[in-house]
């Protein structure tokens, strides 16, 4: 049996893609996923499944489509991958964890596009891409920042979903139980 951390992109926000996590948990359990745990409303789950990682992601995506009618991007990670993502965080430990974001990309972005974006002046906000994970730090918070999930998706031509460091740590904790 495999334990996976599942991140859903863009649910329950701005009145779009509404998914009640309690209902999703029940649907996943009914479809054979074990020990399903959900965390807050932004689409974070831990599940157990005998399926391979890609298969589990496809099945969850299909279940969401069937039961809720939304075509949602689903990111599935192993505990080891999530721990590695946390370990690779390039920002200092002194950075507030609610202002550091770990954004999972569906592919490694084009190096030329990423390099061009890196030349942009974002003021105090900084980002760094390590393979298919983008890290960004907003010392002044989100209010004045250009850096959002949608911004990076558009610029890098990827599909992405991000979580702050607190959520990343929480998901690792839940997956270890």
């Amino acid at each position: 049996m495999n334990t996976y951390i599942v991140l859903l992109r863009g649910i329950n926000v701005s009145g779009k893609n509404i998914i009640k996590m309690a209902e999703l948990k029940q649907f996943l359990t009914d479809e054979g996923f074990g020990n399903v745990v959900t965390y807050i409303q932004s689409g974070n789950l831990v599940v157990e499944s005998p399926l391979k990682r890609d298969e589990a992601g496809q099945k969850i995506k299909q279940l969401i489509m069937t039961h809720f009618g939304w075509d949602i991007s689903v990111f599935v990670l192993t505990l080891k991958q999530m721990q590695q993502a946390l370990q690779n965080n390039p920002f200092p430990d002194t950075a507030e964890p609610n202002r550091v974001f770990v954004t999972f990309l569906d592919k490694v972005p084009d190096a030329g596009i990423a390099a061009a974006l890196a030349q942009t002046d974002f003021g105090p906000d900084v980002f760094e891409i390590i393979n298919d994970i983008l890290y960004f730090h907003l010392p002044g918070g989100m209010a004045q920042s250009k850096m959002t999930n949608n911004f990076f998706e558009k610029k890098l031509k990827v599909t992405a979903t991000g979580r702050n460091l607190n959520t990343v740590r929480k998901m690792i904790e839940l997956a270890k139980k």
Binding site: N12, G15, Q41, M142, A143, N149, T167
Partner: protein, 114 residues
Amino acid sequence: MCNDSPRRKLIVELNIGFAEGNAAKVMPFLSNTIIWEMADGKILNGFEEVSGFLQRITQHTAGKLIIKNMVTHGKMAACNGILKFKDREVRFADFYEFTSAGSATIKRITSYIS
């Protein structure tokens, strides 16, 4: 703006969600980059952090919500009232900024609570 305008209904629904401690009801009204500033200077940054905060307070469900005043204008709105819990009352005044005048998505909340 009339009393049953969509914006006023939205604010009532939002506050019922707060009173019920029902994060699932509240979150769809918020933008991904929501900023929630508390009177003590604490700032919640973004959908996730607000969602986490609401999850932590879900064990506190108010038995009664009284909305005393509400004003809406352009992309701004405000309301004040009282949340009556079993053992205490919380008086609140909230200011809401929407993403635009016609939007149903809130991008900033400033809360004063006593």
